[in-house]
Amino acid sequence: MAFTPSKETYSGKVYPVTIGTGEQAVTLGGENVLAFHAFEGATPNRPVIAYEIQDVPPADWPENVRKPFEAVSSDPVTWAKYCQNELKASAIALRLIGTHPDRENRSAEDAAKTVKDVLAAISVPLIILGSNHAEKDSTVLVAAAEAAKDKNCIIGKAQEANYKTITAAAMANNHKLVAMSELDINLSKQLNILITQMGFEKERLITDPMCSALGYGLEYTYSVMERIRLAALTQNDMTMQPPMLGDVGMYVWKVKETQAPESDLPLWGPAEERGIAWEAATATALLISGSELLIMRHPKAVEAVMKTIEELV
């Protein structure tokens, strides 16, 4: 019996989405095959990893991931520059976590100023994220989107409860938009439809099907991403064709495995290596399931994932 490889030709493809401006702009997506399946189709762009920074010092981050940024993280501008210049970040994700009413409760104006200052200091693309408080985000992200007008940022996350204002702000200021729904392919599709019905171009969307950390529901995110990607490729479903975001760092650096000291759990090995590996492994699994954009924290985890991408393309 002779072997003939069964290669797939898909009818659909993932939209290529360009973020940022000038020489440092990057493009995500564009492939017409499953992740790292270059043997049967076109994979024009590599996945992009954005370093996560925030508007307030990362007192809430566990020590092992706070340490690498100790000297720079008291100020978002210094922090952003460090990521761009020293860590060679290809994109930066600024999370305006300090605007959350239960946190520092910073105002929308404060947030807009931070965005302006960070943008003035960097030339790589910027992703601007709210604090995930649906109500507050709809004022904060509107101000942030205006402050970043025409810089071709990604704004997010638009959710069912607040997508209208955030979509309008992204549209008015020429940004890309992250649409997030909770671990359900149908919810994800529905939100993308609602947003495009407002007149937002589908080619400017990025889907966030919601991340989960290794050991804490990763298989759900993994399979939702895989199903979204298969719908995009095999059914040519245009509502499922935006690139996908894996917001990895935030979900990973709160689970027990990234924090518990070895003295408590000797079978788990040293906490520092474990935390880095946890973030890198979650990221790698999501890349294989179809994510084109990752937001990550630990420089060593980012470095390891980059090295793996090198071997996968």
């Binding site: 072997f3 290794l214 590996a277 399931s289």
Partner: protein, 447 residues
Amino acid sequence: MALSGVEIFKLLPKTNCKKCGQPTCLAFAMKLAQRQATLDACPDVSEEAKKILGEASAPPVRPITFGSGDKAVKMGEETVLFRHDKKFVNPCAFALEIKDTLSEDEIGKLCGQVMSSEIDRVGQKLRIDAIALSNVSSDAGKFEAAAKVIAAKAAGVPVIISTENPQAAEAAAKLFAGQKPIIYGVNSSNAEAMANVAKAHKASLGVYAQGLEELSALTEKVKALGIEDMVIDSGARRAKDVIESNTLIRRAAVKKNFKPLGYPVINFMQREDSLHEALVAIAGITKYASIIVLSSVEKWKNLVLFTLRQNVYTDPQVPMQVEQKIYKIGEPAPEAPLFITTNFSLTYFIVSGEIENSRVPCRLAVMDSEGLSVLTAWAAGKFTASKIAQFIQESGIENEVSHKELIIPGYVAILSGAIEDKLPGWKITVGPREANAIPAFLKTRAA
């Protein structure tokens, strides 16, 4: 590819003798096609038909047992390409490579690491499953000596005997008699001699070729020599090539029922940088490897790989459940808050994670709701006031805490009155609807 009822019917005696319990041969054929009957029910079927039907009904990836006893690993039997279609069946095995150039002490130490690798996670015992002894020295004597150390220091652990030299394979295989080792290193020039060693010691064979065409020809050759228990290696080593060749192998087996590649896949993933090795191993875990060979087994790496494998191999149609009990988060004093939620693992992970984030020690009562999340369990009548009351009363929690206050999920606020009726003396507090509001909720309470 499975045969249709009509295709099967053509191979049956067509006597309508009813001995199989079906009224006609056609009816029996239909039952066979739906896998609701087996061929042994027909006393008159020809040998030829048995052969054809047997091959057609065999699972697309051949089932193989590697090792023996309670550490035996089952492989193969996979039927799909994507885990959302149907559960991936047999989790891949992790094997630690041990080179025969190492000293006896070093080999013993590595055996010790494998023996002590077991970790309990969400009720499953996970471990480094196997050892791959490799004949780096090319010396049969050294190989045998190393195998002796492994047989003594890692008794019961399934072993891959990795050598291209049939004499070396023979010397090592005899040490693992009755333990179903895998002899890896079979190529087109040594196949015959290796098949003889495998037959003598009831071993499976690991066949190696460059590319899938050559590999298909080789498995056919080995099968013709009388060995059917094989694991296959296409020679792919780069992560990109591993994904390509594992995917093409799985597609050939599952979609085309192409028998020459219908065997479990072994991937060699050793890298100098251990974290990098862990990440490329993920390509193997997610994309169809049955055995992944590693160069080191640090505890942190084991935890990562075990957890990832567990995630990928869970049944997507059965919600993961955690055990019903009162979980302590942090070191709660008797007066610490008491929450209740359902036993869907994702619910448990998210709620316990947010309580941990709050850094307020608490108790979390997790009630068996057959793995449903809070709202679904409530709607299905599995998270009701009387069931909650019964669980709290029977849990013995009253002796552990100094208060009688139970915090219920915000989504089931409607239950608070009914629970108070059924749990006399208890105060029911309605907590947040979403777990991410728990830290703020606890902060406000403390203030």
